[in-house]
């Protein structure tokens, strides 16, 4: 069996940007007020009435080549199971080198002094549960799984759907795949 590679797909055709993922993550992970491991971005293009819109739920990309891990002077940022990038809290000095290195702004400083970020809810994955954001999503826009397994839902979606990753030119091989709508949208009328 190949080493697992955890990844997530985020279906932009489904997401309504409701923030349930953001709140479920906060609740599940007992995050501090205004400490967010995931967030929503809405991108609108065009001029009235010819508009397009993409809504995305973002989190750490758990990059295959993770600059935050390289930048970390203490080894707190590291690669864990399935390629998941984690921070070992007591090794973290809060120096923010990882935050400077991350092109996705996926990390924040926890009030207790360490840098915090998405863990793909590995504590839940180990119990055969889905990450909290995936579980709560009313639009089922998020799919988590093992990309190394070609039969997994996540692998099937990546292979069958048109998708993009954020800032691919950086060559970091981010593992958050944004699925695009299958049909053209918004033929606005005036």
């Amino acid at each position: 069996m190949k080493e697992p590679r955890y990844a997530m797909t985020m279906d932009t055709s489904r997401c309504v940007g409701c923030h349930a993922c953001v709140f479920a993550c906060q609740g599940e992970n007992a995050l501090p007020e205004h400490g967010f491991r995931d967030w929503i971005e809405v991108e609108t293009g065009g001029k009235f009435p010819h508009l397009t819109q993409q809504i995305r739920s973002h989190r750490c990309n758990h990059c295959e080549t993770a600059p935050c891990v390289t930048a970390c002077p203490t080894g707190a940022s590291h690669v864990s199971e399935g390629g998941t990038v984690l921070v070992t809290r007591h090794k973290c000095t809060g120096c923010k080198a990882c935050m400077a290195a991350c092109p996705y702004d996926a990390r924040y400083v926890h009030p207790e002094g360490y840098v915090d970020k998405c863990t793909f809810c590995l504590h839940r994955v180990k119990r055969n549960q889905q990450p909290a954001c995936v579980e709560v999503c009313p639009t089922q826009a998020l799919t988590f799984g093992n990309l190394s397994d070609p039969n997994s839902e996540v692998a099937q979606k990546v292979s069958s759907r048109r998708h993009v990753v954020q800032r691919p030119s950086l060559g970091l091989e981010p593992q958050l795949y944004f699925l695009l709508p299958t049909a053209p949208l918004a033929q606005a009328g005036d």
């Binding site: 309504v16 070992t88 709560v136 005036d190």
Partner: protein
């Protein structure tokens, strides 16, 4: 030296051991394993119940650890949540642990509306409420009392008022919200939509939204179904002056001139009928009045509708064909808050008639006819007394098709000088009338004239500040309410049960209602020891196991056919027993038997039509003080079209983030609110998310954040058919706010 060397080896060995145990290579510290941290938020106890952050009532699982609710997740067994929650449901802890909650009963010590209270005992507060209600009843009769209620806990108070013999039992969710829709669909199909609406969104191939902003309006199951439909390749047609979330996912977005939807609907019907794209067999079998309809829309061509709606004729034709191509799985979403322009029943009729042309009522992917589980009532030792005639209408002939009591009418009937109406005392349960009735000044006038007003709430909303007595209710996570068994595709029975003990001195609604009843000599109507006994009795009588229900929160029942494809034989509870395209009932009452378009008054030059709606993480003003939810939206913004923003007086073009004041046609000024300058809205209207701009001192977080649309809604156009208050008829101009520090 030797010693130091041994020490070194010992340390090194320990380090290797630790690394070996963890199985992971740590870098230079190498002293420990690499634990995957578990935040330990799973509960020691997990209590299933149902939500009250909005009125959809999804099943939630409340995780409790050391007596504290750590998180709320969706109940997988509940047909409305299916294991998933919307943001508000997830954020219920923000209500439970809101530091601004009402904690003790309060009695007013200064003038009404000055928000000055003293804390009193429950005994004293309840004595006061019962005595004052009784005094009004004895002096003026039960018709001088009124209840306003919203939310599932209100059932206990409705029961109390029925026991008193009072007919003025109202909810703003009718005349200020879904009322016109219910009447329009009832007239056409003989059935109201109710809640949850019986829509087969998941199986629709084409979904048409007329001003409905599903996705921002976050009714969990509907949004789940919308996403499922999109996943299956369904396409959306969105008619909205604003580029809503749904519009961003639509095949067609029609940025219609506000208030002209009926013209578009008539033109669509014109195309569908002229081109023979309707379901002829379905109409022949089930509907009456097709010939009249055909004649009625004959001159309502896309060319006719273009100057009215601003939608080009070819686009009207193209969308009409697109909608008809998917029939019968072509769903015209009936909407929910439909009180817009005062002719709303007729617009709802137009939507219902279009639904009939598509043959989608009673069909897969259309509107279903679901059943509900039957739960016997708790046996009462005596029947309710005959209820007084509601005084919500000046005369019975007015608003003849209203099938619920009009909250706005009850308010009007409390203003002195309304002949023969004189309501003298209010009880308000869970509804902030200052934000949900139009023209808050009128509401204040009514309140100032009352002999007595009491409110029951969880938070000190504005209406509490206007009350004589304020009774602090326990939140939905601390109480057991009435059992719930709505009509739904998958029939079910759900219970709300206390997750933790009520905090502070708050009390559950069933207890408050019973204690008031006891003091009014109505104990016989409350024969249960508590709401748990009440619920258990009803559940057991219905043949369900209470223990199972306690553990799961919900039981599902047998599905019955909901559409023709499932073997349903279509019946219509109209006068004729058929779908009434042409409404004789309306004709006889002197209304248009087929919907006519009547143009609303346009905004004066330099002004914008004020539109309002919802954001996914808020339910009106009920959640704006929820600090958890407010993390991502703590104030509203006024949406202004980018080109229009350049024309706003003040020298430089208006930018996003600039503070402005909205001034309405009657000179009412909003609180300062930030502009959102955007391409996503037409230039003749502005948009606010409803529920912000609180003024209550007790809402320490929400007070002063954003602007209140309600305050600017000083006018309403009342639907003559059913009394709904059309509120989209107010205009505002934009002024730059004075520089604030």
């Amino acid at each position: 030296m030797a010693l130091r060397r041994r020490e070194f080896i010992k340390i090194a060995a320990g380090s290797v051991g630790a690394t070996a145990l963890s199985g992971l290579a740590s870098r230079w510290w190498g002293l420990d394993a690499d634990p995957i941290p578990d935040p330990n938020t799973d509960g020691d106890r997990v209590v299933p119940t149902f939500c009250e952050l909005c009125f959809w009532k999804c099943g939630v699982l409340a995780h409790v650890k050391d007596g504290r609710v750590t998180k709320l997740t969706g109940n997988p067994a509940h047909p409305l949540s299916r294991g998933r929650l919307c943001p508000r449901g997830t954020g219920g802890t923000g209500l439970l642990y809101d530091p601004d909650r009402l904690k003790k009963p309060l009695v007013r010590v200064q003038k009404r509306g000055e928000q000055a209270f003293e804390e009193v005992s429950w005994e004293k507060a309840l004595d006061e409420v019962a005595e004052k209600l009784l005094r009004v009843k004895e002096k003026h009769g039960p018709e001088a009392l009124a209840l306003f209620s919203h939310g599932y806990g209100g059932s206990w108070f409705k029961h109390l008022f029925k026991a008193v013999g009072c007919g003025n039992i109202s909810a703003p969710s009718y005349a200020q919200c879904r009322g016109p829709r219910e009447v329009g669909y009832y007239l056409t199909f003989g059935r109201i939509m109710g809640s949850p609406e019986p829509l087969d969104i998941a199986n629709a191939r084409c979904i048409t939204l007329i001003g409905s902003h599903l996705g921002e309006n976050m009714h969990n199951t509907q949004v789940q179904d919308l996403a499922t439909a999109i996943g299956r390749g369904a396409e959306l047609v969105v008619v909205d002056p604003r580029f809503s979330t749904a519009a961003g996912k639509a095949r067609y977005w029609l940025p219609i001139k506000p208030g002209t939807d009926t013209a578009l609907l008539l033109a669509w019907m014109n195309v569908i009928i002229t081109e023979g794209r309707y379901d002829q067999a379905y109409l022949e079998k089930h509907a009456l009045g097709f010939d009249e309809l055909k004649q009625h829309v004959a001159d309502k061509s896309p060319d006719w509708a273009y100057p009215i709606t601003g939608i080009k004729p070819e686009l009207i034709r193209e969308t009409a064909r697109f909608i008809a191509a998917s029939r019968p799985a072509s769903l015209i979403h009936p909407g929910r808050r439909t009180t817009w322009y005062g002719d709303d029943t007729q617009r709802a009729r137009a939507m219902a008639i279009l639904t009939a042309l598509l043959g989608s009522w009673g069909r897969r992917g259309g509107i279903l006819s679901p059943g509900a589980l039957e739960i016997p009532k708790f046996p009462q030792p005596m029947a309710y007394p005959k209820g007084s005639e509601p005084l919500d209408r000046p005369k019975p002939s007015q608003y003849p098709l209203a099938d619920e009591v009009l909250a706005s009418g009850v308010c009007d009937a409390s203003i002195p000088g309304t002949k023969g109406r004189g309501i003298k005392a209010w009880m308000v349960y869970g509804t902030n009338l200052m934000q949900c009735l139009p023209n808050p000044k009128q509401t204040q006038k009514a309140i100032q004239a009352l002999d007595f007003i009491a409110s029951v709430d969880v938070l000190p909303s504005e209406i509490c500040g206007w009350s004589d007595v304020v009774l602090p209710e326990a939140t939905y996570l601390e109480r057991c309410d009435e059992v719930w068994a709505p009509a739904y595709e998958q029939p079910f029975l759900a219970i709300r049960q206390p997750v933790i003990e009520p905090m502070y001195e708050s009390k559950p609604g069933w207890w408050i209602a019973r204690e008031v009843a006891r003091r009014m000599g109505l104990s016989d109507f409350f024969p249960w020891t508590d709401s748990v006994e009440y619920a258990q009795r009803r559940v057991t009588e219905a043949g369900y196991d209470c223990h199972v229900l306690r553990d799961t929160g919900v039981v599902t029942g047998k599905r019955t056919p909901t559409c023709e494809e499932e073997g349903l034989s279509l019946t219509f509870d109209t006068d004729s027993g058929k779908i009434e395209l042409y409404s004789k009932a309306l004709k006889e009452l002197g209304f248009d038997p087929l919907p006519e378009f009547r143009a609303p008054e346009p905004p004066p030059p330099g002004s914008f039509r004020l539109l309002f709606g919802r954001a996914p993480m808020h339910t009106f003003g009920r959640t704006t003080n929820n600090r958890f939810l407010a993390q991502v939206m703590s104030e509203n913004q006024v949406w202004v079209n980018a080109s229009a923003a350049a024309e706003v007086p003040g020298g430089t073009p208006l930018k996003s983030g600039d503070l402005v004041v909205l001034v309405n046609q009657d000179g009412v000024r909003s609180a300062p609110v930030r502009a959102k300058v955007t391409e996503r809205i037409r230039g003749d209207c502005v948009y606010l998310v409803h529920g912000f701009g609180h003024s209550s001192n007790g809402l320490k977080f929400a007070r002063g954040r954003g602007a209140s649309d309600s305050q600017l809604i000083t006018r309403a156009k009342v639907d003559p058919i059913m009394g709904g208050t059309g509120m989209n008829i107010n205009f505002v101009r934009i002024e730059r706010a004075e520089k604030t520090s």
